[in-house]
């Protein structure tokens, strides 16, 4: 343990030192090659000025390329090759994908997720934001609602797996949901293996996690709505519901859209919950889990995995661009 700490500290220090050394050294080098003195001072400093930003940006660009751009290019390359990446197969993987039933199952599920989770999370978040605003114990309620955000997806999945747990007779039931069902006089169910019900069960977990996120962002936005506009509306004769729907919500439209798309993107990329709770069985497959299946399970096929990844990327990219633009617009406004 002490060795590990020493190592970490040493790494951090050396990285820090390298950074400082790079900036200082590169700057110094530039000044030596094109000194801003003597007869050519003006031209030299102009030339150095052109290069300087790239010197400073250089390391960041290299690492960005290595960790962000390269994987994208590599995925594209893999998608055009066979299972081991040895042989070029052209569009073969995509052609196979187009007729793969599991892709359609994943796409169908993703669509269902898209329709349900962002809408429900945003709506619940908005309701929670409004209801907790102005309450004395509102802060406490908010903290409780926000807490799921602090749990990792895997942790949340494990927690909810216990809630949905089903034990065949004669062992005693341990699942909370089945406890409720039996208390109400029903028979215990194997929630996670029943098609459709299991999809809803998984969605509940994500909604549980995302509502807090939506609530925090939306409640900040609601507070930014000028108080006078609400008072003016009250004097104009509007009741609480009219004020909410026609004065408050329209003024936070932008934030609503940002929250909505952020959750949408998250849902499209969803992996952990499905992986931990059902592993895509019983009709719960989603795109990210399908990628993982092809990439790393059974007899891995990097080509097919990469092809599915490209489909996911094609779905997420437009939303991502729109989301970033909307967020920037909010920031400027």
């Amino acid at each position: 343990m002490p060795e590990a700490l020493t190592l970490a500290a040493a790494t951090m220090l050396s990285v820090l030192f390298t950074c400082v050394a790079w900036v200082w050294g590169a700057n110094r080098m530039l000044d030596l090659i094109w000194p801003a003195t003597g007869r050519r001072a003006g031209r030299n400093s102009a030339r150095a000025g052109l290069i300087r930003p790239w010197l400073f940006l250089g390391p960041a660009l290299v690492f960005m390329g290595l960790y962000l751009v390269w994987p994208v290019l590599r995925t594209g390359w893999l998608a055009l090759h066979d299972a081991t990446g040895a042989r070029f197969v052209g569009l073969e993987n995509l052609r196979w994908l187009a007729s793969d039933a599991r892709l359609y199952e994943a796409l169908g599920n993703s669509l269902a997720w898209l329709l349900v989770v962002p809408a429900v999370s945003t709506a619940l978040g908005l309701i929670a934001a409004v209801l907790t605003d102005g309450l004395r114990w509102g802060v406490l309620a908010r903290a409780v609602l926000f807490m799921p955000m602090a749990i990792s997806f895997v942790g949340a999945a494990v927690i909810w797996k216990f809630i949905y747990a089903f034990t065949p007779e004669p062992a005693p039931e341990i699942g909370l949901l089945n406890a409720l069902v039996t208390a109400a006089g029903g028979a215990p169910q194997a929630w996670l293996t029943r098609a459709f019900v299991n999809d809803l069960a998984l969605m509940v977990v994500v909604i549980w996690m995302q509502t807090g996120f939506a609530m925090v962002i939306l409640s900040a936005a609601l507070r930014a709505v000028p108080e006078e506009t609400l008072e003016a509306a009250r004097l104009d004769g509007a009741g609480p519901w009219t004020i909410f729907t026609r004065i408050q919500v329209p003024q936070i439209r932008g934030t609503l859209a940002v929250v909505w798309t952020a959750i949408t993107i998250m849902v499209l990329k969803l992996f952990d919950i499905v992986f931990v709770m059902t592993n895509g069985q019983w009709g719960t497959q989603v795109l990210a889990n399908l990628i993982y299946d092809w990439m790393f399970r059974g007899s891995p096929d990097a080509g097919r995995g990469a092809a599915v990844a490209l489909v996911l990327m094609a779905l997420v990219t437009p939303l991502m661009i729109w989301n970033i633009r909307a967020a920037l617009r909010e920031e400027r406004a």
Binding site: P226, E228, T229, E231, A232, A233, R234, L235, D236, G237, A238, T242, R246, I247, P250, Q251, R253
Partner: protein
């Protein structure tokens, strides 16, 4: 035909009393201006009338009906806010139509009302624009338009001009005066800290100080017959000069000892005032240089030449003299005033009866 009557109104926030013992009757069709320094409770008073804040104690009547617990929407009032409070997501037309739409008024009648208000306020070209694309003056007019379309019996203005620059403020002040002339049967209450606004717009002015009414009266009443030192100094610019004096004799004729001289005033004061330390009040515009002993004497520190007038400062005293008087800088000056323009304050209250108003 809507009068407003406030009876012994008080308002507390938590344990802090911000308004106390407010008795006020606003006549139907009157334009009443409430002035006072920041924090005197004037905006709070307006919000009580609007129903945006509950009244702690006392009685509020609008049009002969007790309104304490009547929701704002049914009080027949419209309010123009200091920072306009336009709905940013609605264009000008929708902003003005909102109240009528909430009330379920038909499309045609809304259109008529909005068009009429827009014409009245010269907003016809802006109807499809959003508030963010409007200038400060236009926004203010939209806010007024939003109030007009509802045809309220009572208009409340909460410092509507304070966010405008000086030139625009003058123009909008004139516009409110015109609006009042056109809607002469509507009762209006206008809150401001700008005494120029108060003097020019008001039928009557209420001066509020520390949550209580200091004085109510017509603008020139307040200027000519202030009942307290506070009102005397609050109304008029630059503020009234106060010169310490001792009463030698009181009664039908009042004799005062000043630093410069002893003076006699043929104006009655309460007989028991003899021997008291008082303040003699005189407005800067009523002072003039004199050959005699005068009311004050001293060396001129600063001359502020404003063109049409010059402000002469000597000691703590300010005099407003016509024309450019930079020649007076550094000179020793004696200043005097017509006895009719003098005020006498004892413990902050006026003690000398004023001459009848000319």
């Amino acid at each position: 035909m809507t009068s407003i009557i406030l009876e012994n109104i008080a308002k507390s926030f938590g344990g802090t009393r911000v308004l106390d013992g407010i008795d006020l009757a606003v006549a139907s069709g009157e334009l009443l201006v409430i002035v006072g320094p920041s924090g005197c409770g004037k905006t709070t008073l307006l919000r009580l009338i609007a129903g945006l804040e509950p009244i702690t104690s006392g009685r509020l009547m609008i049009g002969g009906q007790v309104m304490n617990d009547i929701p704002h929407a049914r009080r027949g009032i419209a309010m123009v806010f200091q920072n306009y409070a336009l709905y940013p997501h609605m264009n000008v037309r929708e902003n003005m139509a909102f109240a009528l739409r909430v009330a379920g008024v038909g499309r045609d009648r809304i259109e008529t009302a909005v068009t009429r208000a827009a014409r009245l306020l010269d907003l016809e070209d802006c109807l499809d624009r959003f508030p963010r694309a409007l200038s400060g003056g236009q926004r203010q007019r939209v806010a007024i338009g939003r109030a007009i379309v509802r045809e309220p019996a009572v208009f409340l203005f909460d410092e509507p001009l304070s966010n405008l620059d000086a030139g625009l403020r003058g123009a909008m002040r004139l516009e409110i005066a015109r609006l009042k002339a056109r809607l002469s049967d509507r009762t209006m209450i206008h809150v401001t800290h700008d005494q120029l606004e108060a003097m020019t717009l008001a039928d009557r002015i209420v001066v509020l100080a520390g949550g209580r009414i200091a004085q109510v009266g017509r603008p020139l009443d307040l200027y000519e017959r202030p009942e307290t030192e506070f009102v005397a100094r609050f109304i008029g610019s630059p503020a009234m000069n106060l010169i310490p004096a001792t009463v030698i004799a009181a009664g039908a004729v009042t004799r005062l000892r000043l630093a410069t001289a002893e003076i006699s005033l043929a104006r009655p004061t309460p007989p028991d005032l003899a021997g008291a330390e008082v303040n003699l009040g005189v407005r800067p515009e009523h002072l003039f240089p004199s050959g005699g002993p005068g009311l004050v004497a001293g060396r001129v520190d600063v001359v502020e030449a404003l063109g049409e007038v010059s402000l002469i400062h000597l000691g703590g005293i300010t005099a407003k003299l016509a024309g450019t008087r930079q020649d007076l800088g550094g000179q020793t000056l004696r200043l005097s005033a017509d006895p009719a323009h003098l005020h006498l304050f004892h413990r902050g209250r006026s003690v000398m009866s004023h001459l009848p108003l000319g």
